[in-house]
């Protein structure tokens, strides 16, 4: 059975080494926050200016001026800090964020990422996506394995507008966890009950097994 969204979030959280600075993109990646063990010294960064972002506030404690990059009300943990956007993107672009988990529309085997625009669709804007994709030490893309129409999102070459080239290290889908590489997506883990055959059928690029 493919992983549920919650199971994906849990699996993603296990990719984060203790003591890391992590930026979680909008959408699926947001769910990862709830799966991070509290004693792992993992600090959440949000590009609008918090290091040490905490969970959503308790009812009645929400402050419209304490938000995340998705403009949702959040909190700040003990030891957290706030700062301007120039410093925030210095953290990102300068490679100080250890792990970034981003949503994806398409990921190529070589690690190209498309996650900001659909050809012919409404232009939604770029936000911090390109900076996050170019700057982070490790990028995990998180997405369902195929589109609602059944089209592969893990592809040989992206056809959607790119966010950044050669930036994604690993891709986590509902079917498994994969490492990007020039020859194809290398399988690191399958969701329980999912077969390699199914994965290969639903992937637009070679899926490799074993260590390279």
């Amino acid at each position: 059975m493919p992983w549920s969204r919650e199971q994906m979030a849990e699996r993603a959280a296990r990719e984060i080494p203790p003591g890391s600075i992590v930026n979680l993109g909008i959408g699926l990646p947001t769910l990862v926050a709830d799966c991070i063990p509290p004693d792992a010294d993992i600090w959440l960064h949000t590009e609008n200016g918090i290091l040490g972002m905490g969970p959503f506030p308790y009812e009645g404690e929400e402050d419209p001026q304490i938000i995340n990059a998705g403009k949702q009300t959040v909190t700040i943990v003990r030891g957290g800090s706030t700062f301007d956007s120039a410093l925030s993107f210095a953290m990102i672009r300068g490679g100080h964020v250890d792990v970034t988990i981003l949503g994806a529309m398409q990921v190529s085997a070589a690690g190209d990422l498309a996650n900001w625009a659909i050809p012919g669709g409404k232009v939604m804007g770029i936000g911090g996506a390109m900076d996050l994709a170019s700057g982070s030490g490790f990028i995990l893309a998180m997405t369902t394995h195929v589109t609602r129409e059944g089209e592969p999102k893990l592809v040989a070459e992206c056809t959607y507008p790119l966010t950044a080239r050669r930036c994604v290290h690993r891709v986590l889908t509902d079917l498994g966890l994969f490492a990007c590489g020039p020859e194809g997506f290398r399988l690191l883990e399958l969701a329980p009950g999912v077969s390699l055959d199914e994965v290969r059928r639903k992937t637009g690029a070679p899926v490799l097994e074993g260590r390279p």
């Binding site: 969970p55 419209p64 301007d84 232009v123 936000g127 790119l162 950044a164």
Partner: protein, 244 residues
């Protein structure tokens, strides 16, 4: 022969929003602080509409949302061009774009704020890896540093900056509140004339020198505005556990 320009660092406090906005002209390039509806200079935004200027070039991360904030400018039809990073659910902007009434330039957020900082800091241009190999690179110089392609990005300045601060002293030393800080300090640096809407005006000497978020050198006019709507864009809460 010409001597120094007249000093601008006295008598900065204005009695009204209208006074603070004096000189803001048709066609002006205007930066407005805030991340979505968070940290907006609400009174200055309204004041610009009331002033009746038009053809503005708006430089702001989002240009409002939910009919609030900078959506007022779009609804009033006083914006010619928007330079921003994200549109998302901003229907007012989608409509104006679709109707061809507003030109939109979308910039990656880190590049956006770095270009603004560059203008304020006297840096003409810089090379960033962000956007290499994407549509953002189109028409830009690309150059390799340390084996990675980088784009040349130019400084982005403005005629005016309109920002919100939590507290200001009469010299214009500012403190911001939490994530309401965002682009505002950088925009203050990048504009020829900086207008601050402060929730509270405090006496000179209130701030410890080490605690000033933005020194008054970057601020030219201050208006105190005590009441703000501060709308939630996405109010998300969790239930309080029993006994808390």
């Amino acid at each position: 022969m010409s001597g120094p320009r007249p000093g601008r660092h006295r008598d900065k406090v204005r009695a009204s929003v209208a006074e603070a906005l004096e000189g803001l002209h048709d066609g002006a390039r205007v930066m407005v602080g805030g991340f979505g509806l968070c940290g907006n200079p609400e009174a200055l935004i309204r004041g610009v509409v009331e002033r009746g200027v038009r053809d503005l070039v708006l430089i702001s991360n989002n240009a409002g949302n939910l009919g609030k904030g900078l959506n007022l400018w779009l609804q009033a039809g006083i914006v010619r061009k928007v330079i921003c990073t994200y549109i998302g659910t901003n229907e007012a902007l989608h409509e104006q774009m679709a109707a061809g009434r507003v030109e939109v330039e979308i910039v990656p957020q880190g590049t956006f704020v770095e270009r603004i900082r560059a203008a304020g800091a006297g840096i003409a241009a810089f090379y960033t890896p962000t956007g290499a190999g994407t549509v953002v690179a189109e028409g830009k110089e690309i150059r390799e540093f340390d084996g990675r392609p980088h784009l040349l990005e130019r400084a982005l300045g403005a005629d005016f900056a309109l920002v919100r601060a939590r507290r200001a002293d009469p010299f214009g030393n500012l403190r911001f509140w939490r994530t309401a800080r965002n682009f505002s300090p950088l925009m203050c640096m990048a504009a020829r004339t900086t207008l601050v809407e402060a929730d509270e005006l405090v006496p000179l000497g209130t701030f410890d020198p080490d605690d000033v978020h933005l020194p008054g050198i970057f601020v030219h006019r201050i208006v105190e505005v005590r009441e703000h709507e501060d709308p939630f864009e996405y109010r998300v809460v969790r239930p309080r556990p029993e006994g808390r």
